[in-house]
């Protein structure tokens, strides 16, 4: 049907009263607005890649320079070469980010400054006579860095500082909990302790990812979802243990967690949920088969069943992706 025939048909329907003006306008408006919500894409070009490679080379140069001359340099020089360089990189990044043409370059300097500031803080505490390997000292360093970057986020209002704030806050959480762990008589199993910590941090990441998905910082949502899922599903699987010391609660609840994750992939329209959910489901099936069925079924039959199940999961993942997610990620 060409345009002229279509217009004639519309006129006929309007004359018969089967089509109203409002319906026509609503259809026209719907065609104007985008049907799918396109997730923001960070476009990398060659220049940006070179910025980060250059920053990495600068970082390696500073670390090697200080490392090779560690015995020769005095305390002031060591601190200036590391922490001083980090602060200088931060200032340079702030200057570059003012201009739209050099925003990405400024962000590269911010990343460089974050790493140099971390190294510089370790050097500073070391030169001040502190034991940098203890949980107490590392908690203090992480608190300084997390506080600094959260303040930078609030003051300079740059989204890149949110990522650093999350990273250093995570470091603070783990180091401070390790400090507390060393003072408690009731936590005997260190591995289980860290599994529960990872579970808590991962849930936080997922919730933060959801919050950022509806804000201007939606670029952080992907990494937060990915690391959150890796931690949450990994910790849940690890908490299940291994026969004969397995934890029946976590082994039984894990499939329910997986199916919730796969359901959320549709609701949140996140491919990370779908792919990681499928991968961990495969891992769970392999684990359970190796734990409980190899003695009864025998390895060959167990492998056949596992293989078929993995193929089914793969097809389910493909089907869900095609039906619900593909048009979003076009």
């Amino acid at each position: 049907m060409d345009k002229q025939e279509l217009l004639s048909e519309i006129s006929l329907l309007a004359a018969q009263g089967d089509l109203q003006q409002e319906e026509m306008l609503a259809a026209f408006r719907q065609a104007q607005t985008p049907k799918t919500i396109q997730p923001p894409r960070s476009r990398w070009n060659l220049a940006e890649i070179l910025y980060y490679i250059g920053g990495l080379i600068v970082l390696i140069g500073v670390v090697v320079l200080v490392g090779q001359n560690w015995e020769v340099l005095n305390s002031f020089t060591k601190i200036m070469a590391t922490l001083g360089s980090g602060i200088a990189a931060f200032i340079v990044g702030t200057l570059f980010i003012q201009s739209a043409n050099t925003t990405r370059l400024g962000q590269a300097f911010y990343v460089l400054s974050a790493i140099l500031n971390t190294v510089g803080l370790v050097v500073t505490f070391d030169q001040a006579g502190w034991q940098t390997g203890t949980a107490a000292t590392q908690s203090i360093m992480a608190a300084i860095l997390a506080g600094a970057y959260i303040c930078a986020r609030l003051w300079l209002k740059r989204k890149v500082f949110t990522a650093f704030g999350v990273i250093f806050s995570t470091g603070l959480f783990y180091s401070f909990m390790t400090y507390l762990f060393g003072r408690d008589a009731s936590f005997e199993d260190g591995l289980k302790f860290y599994e529960y910590l990872t579970l808590a941090v991962s849930v936080s990441y997922l919730l933060l990812g959801y919050y950022f998905s509806r804000s201007e910082e939606r670029l952080l949502t992907g990494p937060l979802y990915t690391f959150g899922l890796l931690g949450f599903l990994g910790a849940s699987l690890a908490l299940g243990g291994w026969s004969p010391n397995q934890n029946v609660f976590w082994e039984l609840i894990f499939p329910a967690i997986i199916f919730c994750v796969i359901y959320l992939s549709i609701h949140l329209k996140s491919r990370a949920f779908l792919i990681l959910g499928a991968l961990y489901l495969m891992g769970y099936i392999l684990k359970i088969t190796a734990e409980y069925f190899t003695d009864s079924l025998g390895w060959p039959l167990a492998l056949v069943i596992v293989g078929l199940l993995l193929m089914a999961i793969g097809y389910l993942t493909f089907y869900l992706n095609k039906k619900y997610l593909k048009r979003i990620y076009k």
């Binding site: 949980a135 909990m177 408690d184 936590f187 199993d189 933060l208 919050y211």
Partner: protein
């Protein structure tokens, strides 16, 4: 408070609540648990001391003194040891200390004063505490911190609480491979 902000608040609240919970489980038991029993310990005791005396002939042995508890009383035993088995690298004089667990302070006492004490040699005190070496158990890669391998520190553990002990220890690092502290017994009333 809209739905979107709720996820932010809960996301931040979860780790904060976890920190508060763990901190509470560490520090609250200490407020309600107080060790009651002092204990006697010795420093400068060689780890390589002989387990039982061996006599070869009168010219081939030497004597070594050690402290043991017999019948709830501290006694000094002299054992004969083949010359090759005596550890002459331990230059320390053995000292006896009484640790007051309520004030967390050690006081050096003489052998005669220690003999007057009635001692319980069980590892667990009558009020349910035991002495542990090192300041913490656990830590997994990459979270190994120096504190968890601090074998020169001792703590009193019991009833869900850990109390770090201020003990008198030999300062020389040569003693690293020896038991710096030798527990002798809980002081009974």
């Amino acid at each position: 408070m809209n739905k979107q902000n709720i996820s932010l608040y809960i996301g931040i609240a979860i780790p904060v609540l976890m920190v508060m919970f763990v901190a509470g489980s560490v520090y609250l038991p200490r407020l309600f648990s107080t060790p009651q029993y002092s204990f006697l310990y010795a420093t400068g005791v060689s780890y390589h001391g002989p387990a039982k005396p061996v006599i070869l002939n009168r010219q081939d042995y030497d004597t070594q003194e050690r402290y043991v508890v017999r019948g709830e009383r501290l006694v000094k035993e002299t054992v004969k040891v083949p010359l090759g088995e005596i550890d002459y690298t331990t230059p320390f004089e053995t000292k006896l200390y009484l640790q007051n667990t309520q004030t967390n302070a050690s006081q050096e006492i003489s052998f005669d004063e220690a003999q007057k004490l009635r001692l319980n040699t069980e590892a667990l005190s009558p009020d349910g505490y035991k002495i542990a070496r090192g300041s913490g158990g656990g830590g997994v890669f990459p979270f190994f911190f120096n504190e968890n391998s601090d074998f020169s520190s001792y703590s009193l553990i019991g009833h869900g609480a850990r109390h770090k002990l201020n003990l008198k220890q030999p300062a020389d690092t040569q003693q690293y491979y020896y038991d710096k502290i030798t527990f002798l017994g809980w002081v009974m009333p």
